[in-house]
Amino acid sequence: MTNIVVLVKQVPDTYSERKLTENDHTLDRESADAVIDEINERAVEEALKIKEAGEGEVTVLCVGPDRATDAIRKALSMGADKAIHVSDESLHGSDLLSTAKVIAAGVGRAGEVDLVVAGNEASDGRGGAVPAVLAELLGMPQLTHARELTVDGGTVKADRETEDGITHLEANLPAVVSVTEKINEPRYPSFKGIMAAKKKPVETLTVADLGVDAGEVGLANAASGVVEAAPKPPRAAGERVTDEGDGGSKVAEYLVGQKLL
């Protein structure tokens, strides 16, 4: 049986305005609508596919505030079996490294894990490294930025796609994988799935429950911090013309004027 943990993060909807809070420069999570990060739906889909190809169990792991339960329910309604939700006031303002520590401890809670599936990059922080750091902390191989994934017995193969091109990877389980936008099309939860999700177990834990020292997390204990933050003045619209058969020439003139041509 393959024991799979899928990492799900709730993020501010990118269609709404994103801000930093005035007093401590942390992400203002109340100002924007919160949604499950789109890439995580693909992570869930991939976890479910691996489970359905053999036998397995999919546990959703989410580190985030109380209202992240919506993201968890979405993953459960797609077909995940159960969830662990780490929610703790003390996590406010944690840096990426301490978040990864808490996630690592959460993975430990799920027992003998064969595979951890994550998104390659969250849309709010653009860190793109939690899966790699997690592999470091768990002592597992990382097969990240996968656009294709195959699990066969005790091995996992991935086609990694980055700006460098495609890298073919192979490792033994247990392993940490992360998926890109190109890996699959996530399923829509069925009505039955949505009803079933309401009865699926969600274990809510604090940092202390996981045996992580509160002195290791939160804004005050971060290994890096923001010292200054300012919104940039929005870009203003410049000149605009309507093409009357000379649009291309007008652009060329403009570029010459700007010394770009």
């Binding site: 801000k19 860190g127 490294a129 790699a132 980055t162 073919h168 093409d243």
Partner: protein, 319 residues
Amino acid sequence: MAEVLVLVDHVDGEVKKVTGELLTAARALGEPSAVVVGAPGSAGKAKETLASYGAAKVYVAESDEATGYLVTPKVDALATVAGQASPAAVLVAATSEGKEVSGRLAARLGSGWLVDAVGVNSDGTVDQSIFGGAFSVKSKATRGVPVVSVRPGSVEAEQAEGAAAEETVALPAVDPAKSAKVTGVEPVVGGDRPELTEASIVVSGGRGVGSAEKFETVEKLADALGAAVGASRAAVDSGYYPAQFQVGQTGKTVSPQLYVALGISGAIQHRAGMQTSKTIVAVNKDPEAPIFEIADFGVVGDLFDVAPQLTDEVAKRKG
């Protein structure tokens, strides 16, 4: 003066442009040392370029395993050198791999990790541009050796003289239970065009281009300008252009001197990847398209009329 370690981004000793930028940025904090991790012979090939950007030392971490496993040999090499040299900081390119290397290194060293910096300052702070350029931020590491990933294209590379004195680094053996084996690579065949994140001009096409064949119009203008080609997600999803050229929140972030958007509406997620460009030119049939709100010069019109005419004008002027 304190050493500042720079991880060299290279393919078989062929040094990428971003490495010159990192060596330049490193000089704000101390004396740059280049760390080359790769197959035997890589450092020899890279040395001259590294010297010309001011690398005082070149740490040579070469082995066959260095390219045979993903990410971990680079982390091992940097951790080993950091242990010996007590550097003022470690700089890595904020590429997909560089972000992973820097994150793991910061975790291993228990240090502060500064992500996607667009500037490195002599007081140890770094500048960041977040939410697609909507906020400017200054951050600082509060613990350990700061590990910084620097966004390609954000620092202007300046040449300087360096001794590039070689020092050999013994890489620890790779534990295959903890590292993924690389069983094959298919490098991007970029052709003659500059790399998207490194280009000073980018010409992008959106859904308005209409088909993969018609992307030729975008490519022709790009080639006339010596530009890289980009695409919106809608263009990628429709199969007009390959995914590695996607610009935007879930694609590449670009900050060129000139960004030309053809048939792109300018959705917030697209803008997140290009709105810090110095100059933006947009061509769109729809006068209401949001891209015009941020364009320095906009043409309301059909891209298939405007772009070829512009291509001709550029060719004429360049003679």
